[in-house]
């Protein structure tokens, strides 16, 4: 384990950003946000960014291919190109875990080249949580926010940041920073972890239990009458899906610029009425089905397809941002029968 005192953090950022793009969470008037480090930006202490870190690997829109139209001939222009290495600093445990969930979708056969390209070149420097919010429930899904992993795991104490490489990629980066960091023992980190773990026990959602859901529970919940009442308040906007670190649905569309056609993909939301619309119509007829889809996906379908791993990481963003405060916790409590 290495450490660097807080007052030298800027030097660390400068060093990393001199070799590759570095993104750190910074405070803005509209909450924390990952921004490219430019030598002046200060790292935010906020628990989490408004938008999740999935944008780095699965951006909201991305160009897939261009068609150049000249008279009556069409030329196809590939847009995919090798990314440069980049570092994302300060990713919380929940978001780190979300990459694993996205990987299982995008890196499974057929591999999504665009996603893989970014994953290959992105280095995740995580940051352990010390002050979880009342909306946090990552522990429900077995995530230890005090051990966030990533390529390098960081712990920030009152005076220093402790860094520990968790992967080869991380080790390589950490080694390149040796001139700025020093060796450290884990005692301060362990003490902080223990303290944080106590806080986690006291969180209002600490008792939230997902065991009622998971692999193979489709029939048990699919026709539950509660979906109707739960979905009643849903406005069908896409806020929950767009702030969610694990939502991965997208649409592919063409945009005619006048001189070429850009085929791009963009985030889509299962909450929208035209999502999954096909030639014959839409299989999800009302908001009840759309609402059910989102939560069934996170709590039942995803685990069923992925060895029991849940599709939610308990970051609490949807709880904070839903316009009418309907969220996965309320769904779990109502359907899972626990309080």
């Amino acid at each position: 384990m290495r450490k660097i005192s807080l007052d030298k953090l800027d030097q660390l950022f400068a060093e990393i950003s001199s070799k590759s793009a570095l993104y750190i969470p910074v405070d803005t008037a509209a909450g924390a946000k990952f921004e490219k480090y430019d030598g002046t930006k200060k790292m935010s202490d906020a628990l989490n960014t408004v938008r999740s870190a999935k944008d780095f690997f699965f951006p909201q829109t991305e160009n897939l291919v261009d068609f150049k139209v000249e008279g009556k001939t069409i030329e196809i222009k590939e847009t995919v190109k090798e990314d440069e290495d980049f570092v994302v600093f300060g990713v919380r445990a929940c978001d780190v875990k979300s990459f694993e969930i996205l990987d299982r979708v995008f890196l499974a056969d057929p591999v999504d080249n665009f996603y893989k390209n970014r994953r290959d070149h992105g280095i995740i420097v995580s940051m352990a949580c010390t002050r979880p919010a009342e909306t946090c429930f990552c522990q429900t899904f077995g995530i230890d926010a005090t051990a966030p992993a990533g390529d390098i795991e960081c712990h920030k104490t009152t005076d220093a940041v402790y860094l520990e490489a968790k992967t080869d990629k991380g080790a390589k980066l950490l080694k390149s920073l040796n001139a700025l960091t020093e060796d450290a023992d884990a005692s301060a980190v362990e003490a902080q972890k223990a303290q944080t773990k106590e806080v986690f026990k006291k969180l209002p959602l600490a008792g939230l239990d997902a065991s009622a859901f998971g692999d193979g529970k489709t029939n048990e919940f699919f026709n539950a009458p509660e979906w109707k009442t739960l979905s009643e308040s849903c406005l069908g906007c896409g806020t929950c899906t767009f702030v969610c670190p694990t939502c991965q649905c997208y649409d592919i569309k063409d945009f005619n610029t006048g001189h070429e056609v850009k085929r791009f993909r963009c985030w889509d939301s299962c909450m929208y009425s035209d999502f999954t619309r096909m030639a014959h119509g839409n299989p999800r007829l009302t908001q009840v089905e759309r609402f059910r889809q989102r939560f069934m996906h996170k709590l039942v379908y995803y685990p069923t397809n992925n060895e029991g791993i849940f599709g939610c990481v308990g970051c609490g963003r949807c709880m904070a941002k839903c316009p009418i405060n309907m969220n996965i916790v309320k769904v779990m409590k109502k359907l899972g029968g626990n309080k």
């Binding site: 945009f255 610029t257 006048g258 001189h259 850009k262």
Partner: protein, 144 residues
């Protein structure tokens, strides 16, 4: 003489009954105005949806001008009165968003005002040239 390289793209929406005829009259009288002005014929100025204006800017226009009958002379009696309110509010909003107000204009041109049509276009193009390329309402994807 300084040669201005910038050739703006101007979309002019003209109502069929007055302004389009005014533009025709400018032609009949061989009154020159810049070829950058391209006219789209609409039945009435009130047919022009703010979406068309934004669309023009998106696709690369540097200025958009609407021409209709003089208030009170609308072929459909009241169409241009609605145009006037809609565009007053829209233009004020564009200005509020910091988008150059000289890029949009409404002008009343009657079928007899060929000279006014040409003069208006000359003036409008000149103003847009002095502003330069449309940057504030551009869609980068549409740039060549």
């Amino acid at each position: 003489m300084q040669v201005n390289e910038f050739k703006p793209l101007i979309v002019a929406f003209c109502c069929n009954w007055c302004s389009y005829a005014g533009a025709d009259l400018a032609g009949n009288n061989r009154l020159n105005y810049p070829a950058e002005v391209k006219i789209v014929r609409v039945p009435c100025s009130c047919r022009v949806n703010p979406m068309f204006i934004l669309r023009a800017f998106q696709k690369g226009a540097d200025g958009v001008i609407l021409c209709g009958c003089h208030p009170g002379d609308c072929h459909y009696t009241s169409g241009n009165y609605y145009t006037r309110r809609r565009m007053a509010l829209l233009f004020s909003m564009l200005d509020y968003l910091g988008i150059e107000k000289e890029r949009t204009r409404v002008e009343w041109v009657s079928a007899a005002e060929g000279a006014k049509f040409a003069a208006t276009m000359n003036d409008f193009v000149e103003k847009v040239i002095s502003l330069g390329e449309n940057k504030r309402l551009e869609d980068l994807r549409c740039k060549k």
